[in-house]
Amino acid sequence: MTLEVQWRRAVPLALLLGAGAAAIAPAGPDALLAVKAAAADSTEVAVAFVVDFGTGSAQGVLEGCVKVPSSDTGYDALAAFVQQAGLSEPSYNSAGLLCSIGGVPSSGCGVASNGEYIFWSYWHGTTGTWQYSSTGAFSLATNDVEGWRFQNPGPDNATAPPPGATPNYASICPAADQPTTTPTTTGAAPAPVAAPGGATASGGVPAGGAAASAHTATTSPVSGGSAVGATTSTPATTATTSPTSGAHASVGSAASKAADPKTPAVHHVTESLGATKAAPSSSAVPLIVGGAIVVLLGAGAAVLWRRRLRSP
């Protein structure tokens, strides 16, 4: 019977697939990223970022400089910047629309509200003034200043309020081009603080005090878009890049300043902050349990199907 032959072929194939899945499963979803690590880019560019959480938000305005491979897209750079700031990574919907940065907004994606939209607007500041971008962030320019502002809600065109900080590449990314070492103070923030302390509820932003104490205990398994080779099994990557201790003392004062939402404080982000991120509860157990049930069902179906073929 040809059907018998088919089944004989299908069983080893299914076993092979199962074994492969079982081998990859413990390493987590990042198991396949070794490819990416091997192909890491050599040339780096410094990209200036201004991320404005909108009027009345506890987070205020974040600005900072991030070094990424020159082949990265604006989204990769944003992910790197957000990771550097210690926020949870940006999320996208199935169409590729950016839904949230740092867990803001907590739900919905581009929701319409009275003819306007609750969304993250994208701006180019490379020329020194903010220009609304109606296309996505797919490429990086030289001396690039990337702006993101949360509209809650706002029009989906150039009349929307731009990010609340001057797009000055030279001041955000200093000439030394060493964003990782020299904490620069701009605006109202006196200290290199990534996440102002007032924000506790909005997905992943830690309280100021918690940031200082939990700094060394960072065990976030999630790597940002450009965090090359960071896997779930090596949480040390974030811990080792956060060596400074001077920043901790100033966290408290920055938090108290940021508590007043009326005056949007501009916080300069440097890599020296090892703030904790919201670690997603990513467990393989449900996957294994579900997979086992599926395999049982499939095997049962196969056995029944064959038995009924034989029965007269």
């Binding site: 990416k36 990574e89 590729g96 579900g290 179906a301």
Partner: protein
């Protein structure tokens, strides 16, 4: 063994509409989730029930055909995503050479970086469609298309040919695939792989459509759909049915489409349902026709339908309530969860594998009944022979 039909001497079968409702409910459930584990579970439930309760009719292999079709859908979806799809940011797995496009074509891309997120998204989207196709295949495997035709409401007899073709095309397709492959094998032609596919498609499609049309024509020739009575009333009923059907389609689309205004969709759906019901009631009221051995809606049919309804309700409710684990989390990339209540409800869908009568169970006196749909009349048919039904 279950022998529901043992007293009448024919093989036990479930009401075909019950199978269709069960399969449709599972398809609705599949449309409400993007969790690959839940989708795979639904597929497993469907496969198990079909394996346990299919008959030996030629169309009972429909599931295999639709399973393959589903695999093709997934592969196609992934390939389209890799080549043309949204460049979802995230963990880049590999980069295809990119074709530069002018600025007015922003949003469209050919080639470029392919991320794990984009591949997962495409696979799960494909899986969802594949599971819905599998449910359709299951309904075709389990329910006899001829028995289903007999359950049609009288008002649809007007559209006899269209309805017959619509209901019997898939089973005829499966039957004709088997027949064409057999013919090619006898002639020594390849039946597997690409070579087997070549030269299979046209004869299969042609003969499947031919056979469906032939069935429709022969039913028409025997007076199917003819009726006496007032022409005006009939036209009114038909018009009400047609408008009602259109409204129902628009309403269902509105309810399923997340971006559609809910305030419009539900009233349209209700109005459509009322119109449809009225049309069917008036259209069917005046027709007097008999049915040979009508299918009975028994307790088993109710249980099978209810088990499907439990699955569908669980998925719809969990999706509406935003239960964690109903959708695949891409940002951050993490393992899918498995909501226990939904898992339990999914397993309720297995009930038909036990409850539904086994069509292959030995009927008591009849020895050589060939297929379920065409059981030859038996001398001692009992109380059902000659019974009439509207």
């Amino acid at each position: 063994m279950i022998r529901a039909g043992a007293t009448t001497g024919r093989r036990a079968t479930l009401h075909p509409v019950a199978w269709w409702l069960w399969a449709a409910a599972l398809a609705v459930a599949a449309s409400r989730t993007t969790n690959p584990v839940l989708l795979a579970l639904l597929a497993g439930v469907v496969a198990f029930v079909v394996a346990a309760r299919r008959s030996d009719a030629p169309w009972s292999r429909s599931l295999v055909v639709f399973f393959r079709l589903g695999l093709i859908v997934i592969a196609l979806r992934v390939v389209l995503q890799v080549v043309f799809g949204n460049r979802l940011p995230g963990h880049v797995l590999f980069t295809l050479p990119e074709v530069p496009l002018p600025s007015w074509a922003a949003g469209v891309s050919i080639g470029g970086p392919v991320t794990a997120e984009a591949l997962l998204q495409a696979t799960v989207d494909g899986m969802r469609l594949a599971v819905i196709l599998l449910c359709f295949g299951a309904a075709n495997s389990l329910a006899s298309p001829y028995r289903l035709l007999r359950c049609l409401p009288a008002v649809l007899y007007e559209a006899g040919v269209a309805v017959t073709v619509a209901l019997t095309f898939a089973p005829e397709l499966v039957t004709s695939i088997a027949r064409t492959r057999e013919a090619r094998r006898l002639r020594g032609r390849p039946v597997r792989g690409i070579a087997g596919l070549h030269g299979l498609a046209v004869p299969v499609l042609e003969s499947a459509l031919d056979r469906s049309l032939q069935l429709a024509a022969s039913m028409d020739a025997r007076g199917y759909g003819r009726r006496a009575g007032s022409l005006t009333r009939r036209r009114q009923a038909t018009a009400a049915t047609a408008v009602g059907l259109l409204a129902v389609v628009a309403g269902v689309f509105g309810v399923l489409d997340q971006s559609f205004a809910k305030g419009v969709a539900l009233p349209v759906l209700c109005i459509g349902a009322v119109l449809l019901g009225t049309g069917m009631a008036f259209g069917g009221a005046r027709s007097v026709r008999t049915r040979y051995r009508p299918d009975r809606w028994g307790v088993r049919a109710t249980v099978v339908t209810a088990s499907g309804a439990v699955v569908a309700c669980a998925f719809v409710a969990a999706n509406a309530l935003g239960v964690a684990g109903m959708s695949l989390e891409l940002y951050p990339l993490s393992f899918p969860g498995l909501p226990l209540a939904v898992l339990a409800a999914t397993l309720v869908g297995l009930l038909p594998a036990v409850v539904a009568p086994n069509p292959l169970a030995r009927p008591v006196p009849v020895s050589s009944a060939p297929t379920v749909g065409m059981v030859p009349p038996v001398a001692s048919v009992g109380p059902q022979a000659g019974e009439t039904a509207a």
